[in-house]
Symmetry: C2
Subunit: 329 residues, 2 copies
């Protein structure tokens, strides 16, 4: 099982079948992006690395899908529909064809799920662990792009889904919270292993939000970044932050899980602001969606982000964000 085919044969066998016209069916070294009439392309690039963003014994198909999905999460938060993807696959020292085969299976599955065309990329040895660097492109109506910069005083702060599951899932994956119910443990680990980008929610961001970003480095830290570039503050209500049953159970066992949940990485939910005047239409539109939306606070003119508890007291957190340069899982 330790056979090692050449770069050229790996590409031909596993990745060329995922390509199309834009990338000349992998017959060329580059891709020619289409001329779009009424839409534009949004581009993002995010990488994941072994021992930093995933474990060495995670299954390769899940690693592939995670690498794709962290990028699609960025596109969804901008209001864009996924279209193209490019892959620089850095093979770790332990690679063999079986690993690439399973990686390609997961990659192909998500290309199908999200209707992605693979335009090109690169396969190479890293000399160390596996590194997967993906560039994703999405299509968006001409004026549909939603940046982080547009939050205004009075806008309502919302999030999709639930917060903190992946961060606690990582803790569980590392052997923490041994007394937690097995079903809760698995639910949290699944959130860590396989992000669910909010692709189907992109159109609502496009239609109603004034600012949006995906939460990849922790709710509190990412909210601070959004506020900083929008030059606003924000008051949020701790009780309104959506937590899953599994996470609440984790907090009951270890109260420090709350801080980890709000400052840990890998949520891949969308944090966004809706202007008061859009709220009615937004509520109506989201009532038809099969997705949990929570209003957790309001944009203010002053100061940094403040978190209030039930009694109206400000809660302080020591750590607000996950730093991909400083830490390992």
């Amino acid at each position: 099982m330790n056979s090692r085919p050449s770069e050229f044969s790996l590409i031909s066998k596993y990745f060329a079948p995922l390509s199309g016209e834009t990338g000349f069916n992998f017959g060329d070294d580059a891709a020619l992006l289409p001329k779009l009439e009424n839409t534009r392309l949004v581009i993002t690039q995010d990488a994941i690395a072994e021992t930093v963003h995933f474990f060495s014994d995670d299954t390769p198909d899940l690693i592939a899908r995670k690498a794709i999905r962290v990028n699609l999460s960025d596109l969804a938060a901008k209001g864009a529909t996924p279209r193209y993807i490019s892959l620089a696959l850095g093979l770790g020292n332990t690679w063999n064809e079986a690993w690439v085969d399973r990686f390609a299976q997961g990659f192909a599955a998500d290309c199908k799920t999200y209707n992605l065309e693979l335009t090109g990329g690169d396969t190479f040895r890293t000399g160390g662990g596996f590194v997967i660097s993906i560039t994703a492109m999405g299509e968006i109506a001409k004026d549909g792009y939603v940046s982080r910069l547009g939050a205004r005083v009075g806008d309502v702060l919302c999030v999709t889904g639930t917060i903190g599951d992946a961060a606690i899932g990582l803790h569980v994956r590392q052997g923490g919270l041994g007394k937690l119910l097995q079903s809760h443990r698995q639910a949290l680990i699944d959130r860590y292993l396989l992000p669910q980008p909010r692709t189907s929610f992109a159109h609502l961001i496009r239609d109603h939000a004034s600012a949006a970003m995906d939460i990849s480095d922790g709710l509190l830290g990412d909210l601070e970044k959004l506020c900083a570039v929008s030059r606003v503050g924000c008051d949020i209500r701790l009780d309104d932050i959506p937590l899953s049953k599994a996470l609440n159970a984790a907090i009951e066992l270890e109260s420090s899980s709350l801080e980890t949940a709000l400052s840990g990485g890998d949520d891949y939910e969308i944090l966004f602001t809706v202007p008061e005047e859009n709220l009615k239409a937004f509520d109506k539109a989201t009532s038809l969606e099969d997705i949990r939306i929570s209003k957790i606070g309001q944009i203010t003119s002053g100061g940094p982000v403040k978190v209030f508890d039930t009694g109206g007291e400000v809660v302080e957190f020591a750590k607000k964000s996950y730093d991909h340069c400083g830490e390992t899982p």
Copy 2:
């Protein structure tokens, strides 16, 4: 000197200044590509890794510039003018701020040289060595794109510059060819360390070539790839393959250098075909250029690539291509 700032501060300090409107001055997680009227964008993604594509003690500014240039070489071979770049910077275990500072200096210098806007990216730890993954985009006139697929029987095969210097430069960098003149040694090592993408030649490719690709994995292997996708063969004349003085000196000392030169990686010259009917205009246009162009063969209908020596005999080479999955420098 081992201070380690956060991801956020690294990005703000070193990379945000290289951004512009397209990437919201690094204020957002993605970039919005422009609506182009009469042109289209070409995209390519290539990564380089420590110990595989560069040495651990190469200076970080040269590593940054190499990472950019291997991508610009692809764009040049397609006839495109560089416009945008996106960087996934994977920090190795030995990283410190001084390393990032020097890396960013080289990166900024080449962004200026090639008029590139940094649209976004990612900074992360790899858990192993440094990995730099770059996505580059270039602009091209609507019908200007030149693929590998267009070579036709009778077309003249040409290359820019000289072949094999970087491959032998790598050998010298590893302590080989100790008896070679110091000036020759340095010239070869320089070609290995800092590719010179043929950006200024892109317009001639666009105007005259039927097929083109950059030579990154060795002349003979890359020519076979071009012929395979164009479904043609090629006869080339060994004596007409352009070699530098330094390389000829290396071959005199070690005759095996010739095979290494023709099959080694990192040339970053352009291999292209010119239809007979374009030759006159091509010759006239290139006579004004400050770049060496060599006609080395002709596209045929049959079989694989054949190399002929002065006496008209076919020369066989054991190895034709550099494989980035199988080997280390």
